[in-house]
Amino acid sequence: MARWGMVVDLDMCTGCGACIAACKEENNVAYVSPEEAEKGRAISWMQMVNFVEGEFPNVHIKYMPRPCMHCDNPPCIKVCPVHATFKDEEGIVGQIYERCIGCRYCMSACPYTVKYFNWFEPEWTESTIASMNPDVSLRKKGVVEKCTFCHHRLQKARDKARAKGMEVVDGDYTTACADTCPTQAISFGDLDDPNSNTARLSKSKRAFRMLEDLGTEPKVFYLSEGEKNV
């Protein structure tokens, strides 16, 4: 059984935001009005987080794309009162939109703030309706949603593999963000597969995880930036 994970090489990431856009398009993520976005209600399963350090001229900004960490020990699942958020046997933390009661406990519990709530009924404009991805279910008002590691792609890959009588293996499927990353800073694969490039990278000396000391065991790894010396 694969254990899906992601490695983001921060040395190659340029913070361009392609992953954000690809994710929104792929997963039918709704747009909120500008006024609502201003209130902090925009939904972006993939988000670019910046860490600004220092003062002029010795300033440094670190850009970190932040999907759901798909923790092996997820704080969000522990608190869900209705099994709406769960971890499947391949380690993907999912959300059952049809069961979620909208208590937002998981949002409060997630240290990575990756969970998003539908404060209103999503308003779909003509263009978003026309370009809906039929593979991904739509969320209604009052439920929590989050990154699923493009779970629908896994399902497709699994169908394909089963047709051939095989299991899904590393490389059979990838997420929309990893797919589109211009510098290929994001790699996605099976962390348990010794031949997987992703697994190899996750064991790199440069590898670390976000808020690692919380013990949430995220399956999204980051590779630190190279040393800056000129």
Partner: protein, 445 residues
């Protein structure tokens, strides 16, 4: 039907039998507020939780704050009355009933608050079909239900003899008192049964009450969030709850004393004793607050410190320092001084404590959410009109609940007061004698 003893306690029965205009006026005002709140809530149901000031990352706001606050107030009652009964404090007699009523009403209000907060209340049945008892939220559901059941029963049982008095007087609606009096005739056996039941309940209710607020604190402390993840939260919440409960009880007592002219029952001494209890709780509360923040500060964990400074010197500083003033400095000054420990002073201090404790809940819930570990999203929380109106609605339900209770039942336990008159002095004398040191040479035992 005229009864000398009834005449003695007529001030307690009078408001039930003679309904004044003031009653209707109050009810109309309160119902108006409640209807408006209902309208706002239905609007929220239709449009979505977006009508609140909540956002990403401040997923919880007024509803959860008020939930914790109201459940906290509920500790006034049953817990205090159970403790006082258990410790055989004689001055409890005119107090317990009001305390118990507060509990029952406020628990119902507080228990509904998480439902106001749900994005999909229509799916609440999911909790029954496929709930997970691993979630602290369900611990709450269980323990609040248990507490509500226990405290309602605990309110009802001591009410039975009083209902029987009203039944015997023929107070209308007769069927209600007939139905509720459970055939009480005041026989010795009945008294024994009732007393036994009450003593079982009062022993049971104390751990349940403590569990309720502990479990509520667990909602927060079980997460990894800075400012929440603290082992002290259980007792801290319980202390805060009793603290705010006593304050609420004092306010209610002062209000009824004034409105129903109960000066003969609620005497200065009652207020004085209770306010000393309030003072002790204030000190205890301060001790917990101090420990909570000192450990956070001493550890100096960066995320913890972000929340810490947000409260101490940041956006929430005005609320934080108001809370310290209302919950500690103000009651300390007023209640430790004999001259100010009079009813107006006590009322002021109690109001201060209720406000302060509400602020405390706000300060616990919101700042941890507005300061998530990652630099984005950053939170700002400004409650909306909907949230304010539902808050007002909840307060109105509380007052309305009390007004209606007082319309049908005596707010001071008549039979306990009578029992006090009849037996207390003798019993207390005997009891005190029993603890007095035996003089040398006399037979012990």
């Amino acid at each position: 039907m005229f009864d000398a003893t009834d005449y003695e306690d007529f001030p307690l029965i009078e408001p039930i039998e003679n309904t004044g205009k003031a009653f209707y006026r109050t009810v109309v005002v309160l119902v108006a507020v409640i209807v408006f709140a209902l309208f706002m809530y239905v609007r929220q149901l239709r449009i979505g939780l977006g009508v609140t000031g909540l956002n990403e990352p401040v997923a919880w706001g007024f509803y959860i704050v008020n939930f914790v606050f109201f459940i906290g107030i509920s500790h006034a009652g049953t817990l205090i009355s159970a403790i006082l009964r258990l410790s055989k404090a004689e001055w409890r007699r005119p107090i317990t009933r009001m305390a118990e009523v507060i509990t029952a009403i406020v628990l119902a209000i507080g228990g509904l608050h998480p439902i106001l907060d749900l994005g999909r209340p229509d799916r609440m049945m999911n909790i029954f079909q496929s709930g997970r008892l691993q979630s602290p939220l369900l611990w709450d559901v269980t323990s609040i239900t248990a507490y509500f059941t226990a405290s309602t029963v605990y309110l009802y049982l001591p009410l039975i003899p009083d209902i029987a008095i009203l039944r015997d007087r023929g107070t209308k609606p007769k069927w209600l008192y007939e139905f509720l009096s459970w055939n009480w005739k005041g026989t010795e056996y009945q008294k024994k049964v009732l007393e036994r039941a009450i003593s079982i309940l009062m022993v049971m209710v104390i751990p349940i009450a403590i569990s309720v607020h502990t479990v509520i604190s667990y909602i927060f402390s079980m997460t990894l969030q800075p400012g929440w993840h603290s082992t002290i939260f259980g007792p801290y919440f319980v202390v805060g709850a009793i603290f705010s409960g006593i304050a609420a009880l004092l306010i209610v007592m002062i209000a009824f004393r004034k409105v129903f002219h109960l000066e003969g029952y609620l005497k200065e001494i009652h207020f004085s004793y209770l306010s000393i209890l309030l003072l002790i709780m204030s000190l205890l509360w301060f001790y917990f607050t101090f420990s909570e923040y000192l450990t956070g500060y001493f550890g100096h964990e960066p995320y913890e410190m972000k929340v810490f400074w947000y409260k101490f010197a940041g956006e929430y500083a005005p609320y934080f320092w108001t809370m310290i003033f209302c919950n500690f400095l103000f009651p300390l000054i007023i209640l430790s001084n004999k001259r100010t420990r009079k009813i107006p002073g006590i009322l002021a201090a109690s109001c201060g404590v209720v406000v302060g404790m509400w602020l405390e809940r706000l300060i616990i819930v919101v700042p941890s959410l507005t300061n998530p570990r990652l630099p984005y999203p950053q939170g700002v929380y400004i409650p909306s009109l909907t949230e304010w109106s539902l808050f007002a609605g909840a307060l109105s339900v509380f007052v309305l609940g009390f007004v209606l209770f007082a319309k049908f039942f005596p707010v001071i336990s008549i039979w306990e007061v009578r029992e006090g008159r009849e037996r207390a002095v003798r019993e207390v004398t005997e009891r005190i004698e029993s603890y007095l040191p035996t003089p040398h040479g006399a037979k012990s035992g």
